[in-house]
Each structure stands twice: as structure tokens, then as C-alpha cells.
């Protein structure tokens, strides 16, 4: 295994433990699901102090990470059109499915919810097919 992959695997595992422990503790202590699409949307429609605090914590995490590892921050090389279409679809999809990669993918799977298992299977498959078509087309 090359060292670049090895490093990526170690960081992915450490990051995963952070995400999982935070999600688990949020539920155990506060009875809340750390589902970011839901928290984000509810901040707009039902603003509450804890929701703003949660979003602020996420933003600050990005600032701290960028300060600590400036060379790890990749530029967002994506067109405005693509980011608009992506955001619109994610807005519709997460609202219909009541969750995204965090709420279904971490908390839902960690509590073995059949509904989340179904959602994660479908969105992973849809994302893999989309990337396949985008990168390799139908001819590949």
C-alpha cells in the first residue's frame, strides 16, 4: 500500500470516529439527531439558538482546519451552474427523504434503522451511477 493511500485511510478513520462520536453524544445527551440537512433547513424555518450554535461550530471547524493545514484545502473547482443544480437537487432530495449522509448515513445506520439503510443504499447507488455517467459516459 502506498503511503498516500495509507495516510488517507488513517485520516478517514480518525475523521469518522470524530463524526460518529459527535453524532452519538448529541443523541445520548440531548436527544437530537446530528442531521445537517435538517438542522440547516430548520434554522431557516424554525430558528432556534442551538441550531445557529451548531452551524457556527461547523463553520469554525472549517476555519480551524484551514489554519492548521493550509495546504490541505483544495479549491472548489466547480462551475456555478453545476453547484446550483447540485444544491437544488440536494435540497429537494434531503427534504423528501428527511436526511442526508449524516442523519441517515451515520446516525440512522448506527441505530440500525431500516429506513436509513434503504435511504443510504439508494443514494449511494444514485451517486455512483451519476459519477459514472459524468466521468465515463455511456460509451465506457
Amino acid at each position: 500500500m502506498d503511503s498516500e493511500l495509507q495516510q488517507a485511510l488513517i485520516f478517514a478513520a480518525i475523521g469518522g470516529v470524530f463524526i460518529g462520536a459527535a453524532s452519538g453524544a448529541f443523541y445520548l445527551f440531548q436527544g437530537k439527531i446530528a442531521g445537517i440537512s435538517g438542522i440547516l433547513f430548520d434554522t431557516a424555518t424554525q430558528p432556534k439558538t442551538w441550531r445557529f450554535a451548531f452551524l457556527l461550530g461547523l463553520v469554525l471547524a472549517g476555519v480551524i482546519f484551514a489554519a492548521a493545514f493550509p495546504n490541505q484545502i483544495a479549491e472548489l473547482k466547480i462551475s456555478n451552474f453545476e453547484i446550483l443544480v447540485s444544491g437544488l437537487l440536494i435540497g429537494v432530495g434531503t427534504r423528501l427523504a428527511n436526511g442526508c449522509t449524516s442523519g441517515h448515513g451515520i446516525s440512522g445506520l448506527a441505530r440500525f434503522a431500516p429506513r436509513s439503510i434503504a435511504a443510504v443504499g439508494v443514494f449511494m447507488l444514485a451517486a455512483i451511477i451519476t459519477v459514472f455517467i459524468k466521468l465515463h459516459g455511456f460509451a465506457a
Binding site: A12, A53, S86, A97
Partner: protein
Amino acid sequence: MKNQTIFSFIIALIFGLGLALSGMTNRENVIGFLDFFGNWKPALALVMGFGILAAAGFFHYSKQLMKPINGSDFPILPTKIDAKLIVGAAIFGIGWGIGGICPGPAIVLLAIAPSKIVLFIVAMAIGGLLTDFVTKLNLARAKPINALNNI
């Protein structure tokens, strides 16, 4: 409620650092992970794997409690697997495949790449509001018995 605010902030800080450390905020990384039939980058599989493992203990322990340690109630979460869930998950997956950014990493990137991310969040909000609007419209139009089924 002050404690709840501080706790939410700290949880999100840990969550966000986890997203950044793991590589979930790097969209090329995410696309590489989703490129399963191409030049597959497997590392992000560990984010979900270790994330679920780390969270599962907390969720398991919470089942033995009547209420959260520091809160009033555990939420009643939906259990129904219906067309809304499946169609929504598929639409979300297509959007994630196009952009390579899901909602958590988007917020983490807000201060780092504000111009793109603000666009993304506005588009998400419009998508969500539009969905709520159409859902309510359909509920109002449906016969009462169908409306009950949709709840």
C-alpha cells in the same frame, strides 16, 4: 437552555473537524470515492465505517434510558419506507454525484469558499422550500383519506 447552545456548538465543532480531517470536504476526494467503476479511491468508506462504529455505542446505551441525559425527550423518528424516501434519496444521490459536496461539508467550507457555498446553500433552501410547497399542495388536493395515508 444556555448549556444546550454550548453543547450543540462543541458537538458541531468536533463533527466539522471530523469532516475536514476525513477528506469529506474535498470534493475531488468524494468524487473519487463515488467513482466505483473507475479510478476508485476507497478511503472514504472508512469514514462511514468508523463513524457508524463510534456512534453505535452511544445509540445502544441510549436505548436503556427513558430520556436523554441532558434533554427532555428522545425524538419519535419516522420508520416508514415509502416512495417519498426512495425518490428523495435518489434525487439527493444524483445531486451529491454532480457536486461532490453534501450539506455538512458545505457548511464547513462556508468561510473557506464563500462565493460557491452561498450559491449552494441558497439553491438547497429553494429546493427544500419548493418541496414543502408541492407536498402541501398535494396534501390539500388529495382526498381526506389519502391525506391521512400521507402523514
